[in-house]
Each structure stands twice: as structure tokens, then as C-alpha cells.
């Protein structure tokens, strides 16, 4: 690229070294269900994520937030075995996550609520949910799981014979979460559940996630919407440009200047 004299608007980026202080996981919680151990991730020559460590312990609701392009979805791809770490390792229930198709992840017990929900549009709400218990093990508990999901989201019960495409964005998100619960997973991962939803519905969905978390299921919530995540999660990790900039108990992070910087680059 041609060199151009410019007017010194360049701002040297500050060193955002992470402060591993408050909110460090207490040792008494046993082994983490998901452990990401200083991984480097990337495509071709491009390094997207470097030196990221993250843990999810039993019963926790953990937020992973960051602006667009901060590396959130790359971390998700690695957790689901679609790409392999260049350095570091990812353990699920103490075992390394290998390379594989998404359906193998489901077999391991990781339920994924994907970006854009990915429902079966021309099937009814109940058919969508029932398919969540497709694998042999969860299938044995299908009726109970279904009752459990309707318990959590009574609205869905009223619409159980309606095709998924006819429901509102918020309700579709409930179906996606419900379908994931039908798997009776050991860990729930959610990718941007608030994306494309109107503000009122975002709140609804966040409350639903809180509700699911209260049943004791560990959740990794990946979001752009920091404020909402901080309000419902136990701990939060903040990513910027592929590096962790802050992590800690969500209550302590509210109003943290570093988060604002991570998002607005100021």
C-alpha cells in the first residue's frame, strides 16, 4: 500500500491486559463442565482469537460478549468442533473436543441454540420440540422433557399445533431454546439470541434464559448485547479483537469503563 502522510489522527492502542482478579472461579465448584484453555484460533494465515481462557462451571450462566468481529463466533466454532485450536485446548466434561459434525456435538450433550434460530418452519411447535429429543437417550424422556419445556414457556403450549413460521420472533426463540432443552444437555450454548428482535422481545428472551438457568443447567451465552447479559448472567467475559479484556462477576462489571472502550473503541 502506498504510504501517505497523514495528520496524526492515529491513536496508539492501549494495552488491555486482562485483570484476572475478582470473580475468579472458586475452587470449591469442582471441575468446569467447559474449559477453554488459552486457545489460539484462526483461518489460513489469519489469527482471530489469541490466548483466550474461559470456564463454565455447573449451574452457571456465563456471558461471552464483544462487538462484531471480536472473535465470539470463532470461539463457538471451536467449541463445536468445526475448527481446531492452533494452540491451547478445549475440554468438555474433562474430554478434549475433537473435530466433527454438529450432530456429534449433540451426541456429546452440548445443545446449541444457533444464531438465527434454525427452526423447521413448516412443522408445528410440538414437532419442532419433539425433534429436539431425536437421539435415543433423550427420546426415552421425551414426554417429561416436553412437559418441562411447556412448564417453562406456557405460551408455547397454547401454540403447540401452530407451524413455527407463524410465530413471532420472540416465540420462535423460545422454541429454539425449548428444542435445545429437549436434548437434556449437559451444557447449553446460545449464539446471539437477541439478534433481530425488537427491544420488548429481547427482554422477554433474556428472562426466559434466566429461567432456564435457574433450573441448574450451565449456560454459555454469547451476545453482543452487553447490558442485558450483565443483568442476567453470573459471570461475564468481554472480548475485543480476539483477546479477553475484562472478566468477572457480572454485577462488578456493570458500568465498567473497559467494556465501553471495548465496544466504542474510545
Amino acid at each position: 500500500m502506498r504510504d501517505v502522510a497523514h495528520d496524526g489522527r492515529d491513536r496508539s492502542s492501549e494495552d488491555y491486559s486482562s485483570e484476572n482478579s475478582a470473580g475468579r472461579t472458586p475452587a470449591d465448584r469442582g471441575d468446569p463442565i467447559l474449559q477453554i484453555d488459552s486457545v489460539d484460533l484462526g483461518y489460513d494465515e489469519l489469527l482471530v482469537v489469541s490466548g483466550v481462557s474461559l470456564e463454565v462451571y455447573g449451574g452457571e450462566l456465563v456471558g461471552l460478549v464483544g462487538g462484531n468481529g471480536s472473535g465470539k463466533s470463532t470461539i463457538l466454532r471451536a467449541v463445536s468442533g468445526m475448527i481446531q485450536p492452533r494452540a491451547g485446548r478445549i475440554l468438555f466434561g474433562g474430554r478434549a473436543v475433537g473435530k466433527g459434525s454438529p450432530h456429534q456435538m449433540a451426541e456429546m450433550g452440548i445443545a446449541h441454540v444457533p444464531m438465527g434460530r434454525q427452526l423447521f418452519p413448516n412443522m408445528t411447535v410440538e414437532q419442532n420440540l419433539a425433534l429436539g429429543a431425536y437421539l435415543p437417550e433423550p427420546r426415552k424422556h421425551r414426554a417429561g422433557s416436553l412437559a418441562h419445556v411447556y412448564d417453562l414457556f406456557p405460551d408455547l403450549h397454547g401454540k403447540r399445533k401452530v407451524v413455527a413460521a407463524a410465530l413471532s420472533g420472540g416465540q420462535q426463540q423460545m422454541i429454539a431454546i425449548g428444542r435445545a432443552l429437549m436434548l437434556r444437555p449437559k451444557l447449553l450454548i446460545m449464539d446471539e439470541p437477541s439478534l433481530g428482535l425488537a427491544p420488548r422481545l429481547v427482554k422477554e428472551v433474556m428472562q426466559a434464559i434466566r429461567l432456564v438457568s435457574q433450573t441448574g443447567l450451565p449456560i454459555l451465552l454469547v451476545e453482543q448485547n452487553v447490558k442485558q447479559v450483565l443483568q442476567i448472567s453470573d459471570r461475564t467475559y468481554v472480548l475485543e479483537n480476539g483477546k479477553l479484556v475484562v472478566e468477572g462477576p457480572s454485577k462488578q462489571l456493570m458500568g465498567d469503563e473497559k467494556i465501553r472502550r471495548a465496544y466504542l473503541g474510545l
Binding site: S101, P102, H103, M105, A106, E107, A111, H112, P114, G116, R117, Q118, L119, F120, P121, N122, M123, Q127, A130, L131, G132, Y134, L135, R139, A164, A165, Q172, R179, A180, M182, L183
Partner: protein, 260 residues
């Protein structure tokens, strides 16, 4: 599964020759051949899907079309080398038997064929709506990623679907051969074309659409032959096909596929 299968009609032809060979060599009635041919056809479909189509996942969509076209040529010309070009048919003992139903006279063969078609439709309907595998097929066709995430191995679903497709085509050939002549090269494309017309009329990925499309094609051909010109009977379906492609690509009965 949105694969345009060019060899579809040739599996019908395989069914026809199977029935002829089993009848002339072993004296098997076509209905008996059907029982043997269904599982073998399924197996053949699964093997072909694994060997050819499943390798063409991340390539331009045109390549599956070309691969099935190649498959079609291989099948046609192998049959040609084995059986020669002359038209063949199968005369079963009850071939000319008829039944009187009030004012209508129907041939036994047509009744049997109609009955089997109804059974197949009912079977497909039950399979798709009331079995786990059937639900997995519907789920895969509506949202492949969503299906993977609930633990469905969508690759094996593709094999299954192709296997069922081949098995049913072979079965159709066995049922039809007592009433039709077959030649190795011409018959297959005729059926393939009709299948395209039917699915485009009815809308892809939709069993009811396929049935409606089939009926509609029959009606269009018969009405056109009766009121416009008999000579162009085969053209009416094609014209309808073009009109639908141009004006309503999702098919007459197809829902606009929504992504949720």
C-alpha cells in the same frame, strides 16, 4: 433434498427389465419381483448416493445434475448392451382380464397398479409424519443446520432419501411393465421428464404437491389431447412446466419456503 436427479426415469426402466428377466427366466410374477426389488433398489440407491452424490456436497449445484446425467447414460447404455434396442414388454396371464364396475370397465392390472400407488402414498405419508426417521427427513429438508443441531446425521438422511427414491422408481417400473413397452434409451428420459414436470407443477419437497402435480399433469394431457390436438399430448405438460417455472417457481401448491 433439492437434488435434480437425471437418472430417475432410468431406475424405472431398471425395474421394468428386472420384472421381465425374473418373469421369463424364473417365472416370477411381477408382484413377487416387487418384494425382492424394493430392498435391492433401496440398497442400490444408498450405494450410489454414498459413492457419487455425497461427494458432490461443496460443489456448484450443476455438478449433481451432471453426475446424475452421467449415471443415466451409464444405466441406459448398459441396458442397451445387455438387452438390445428393441422394445420389450411383459405379458402376464391376467394381462387382459377386466373387471366391470358399474358403467366402467377397468383392467385388473390397472386396478392393481392403482392400489399399489395408493399403498405407497399412504406408506410415505405415514413414514414422513409418524416415524422418527420420517420426521428427521422432513427436518433435514426444511433446515439442514437445525437438523444437525438436534443430533440428526443429515448425510445418512440424504442416503436414505435417495435409496427410497430409487426403490420406488424401480417399483413403479415393475408395476407398469405389463401395460407398457420399454426400450433401454428412450423410456428413461420420458419418465425423468414427466417426473420433473410433476414436481415442478406441485412444488419441490412436498409430497402432497407431488400428488397434486401428478394428477394435474394427467388432466392437462388428457384435456389438451381431447380439445386441442392429440398429437401434442406430450407437449402440454411441458408447456405447463415452463409456465410454472417462469411464473411461479415454488410450484402451484408449494409454500414459499420461509427461513426461520
Amino acid at each position: 433434498m433439492r437434488i435434480i436427479n437425471f437418472s430417475h426415469g432410468d431406475f424405472v426402466v431398471i425395474g421394468m427389465y428386472t420384472a421381465i428377466v425374473l418373469y421369463t427366466q424364473l417365472g416370477w410374477d411381477p408382484l413377487l419381483s416387487l418384494l425382492v426389488a424394493l430392498p435391492l433398489g433401496f440398497l442400490l440407491g444408498v450405494v450410489l448416493e454414498r459413492l457419487i452424490l455425497s461427494r458432490l456436497v461443496d460443489v456448484p449445484e450443476g455438478s449433481t445434475l451432471l453426475a446424475t446425467l452421467g449415471l443415466s447414460l451409464v444405466v441406459q447404455n448398459t441396458l442397451m448392451l445387455s438387452f438390445g434396442a428393441s422394445p420389450r414388454s411383459l405379458n402376464v396371464a391376467y394381462g387382459s382380464a377386466t373387471v366391470n364396475l358399474g358403467p366402467m370397465t377397468l383392467s385388473v392390472i390397472q386396478l392393481v397398479a392403482g392400489g399399489i400407488v395408493l399403498v405407497v402414498i399412504a406408506g410415505l405419508y405415514l413414514f414422513l409424519n409418524y416415524t422418527e426417521r420420517g420426521q428427521a427427513v422432513r427436518a433435514t429438508s426444511q433446515n439442514r443446520l437445525g437438523a444437525e443441531l438436534v443430533g440428526i446425521n443429515t448425510r445418512s438422511v440424504h442416503s436414505l432419501v435417495f435409496g427410497v427414491g430409487v426403490a420406488l422408481s424401480v417399483a413403479a417400473g415393475i408395476i407398469l411393465i405389463p401395460q407398457l413397452f420399454v426400450t433401454p434409451v428412450i423410456t428413461g428420459p420420458v419418465f425423468t421428464l414427466k417426473a420433473f414436470v410433476v414436481t415442478v407443477l406441485g412444488g419441490l419437497g412436498n409430497v402432497w404437491g407431488a400428488i397434486g402435480g401428478g394428477l394435474l399433469l394427467g388432466v392437462v394431457e388428457v384435456l389438451g389431447a381431447a380439445y386441442i390436438s392429440f398429437d401434442y399430448r406430450d407437449a402440454y405438460g411441458l408447456v405447463a412446466f415452463l409456465l410454472i417455472l417462469l411464473l411461479r417457481p415454488e410450484g402451484l401448491f408449494g409454500r414459499t419456503v420461509k427461513r426461520v
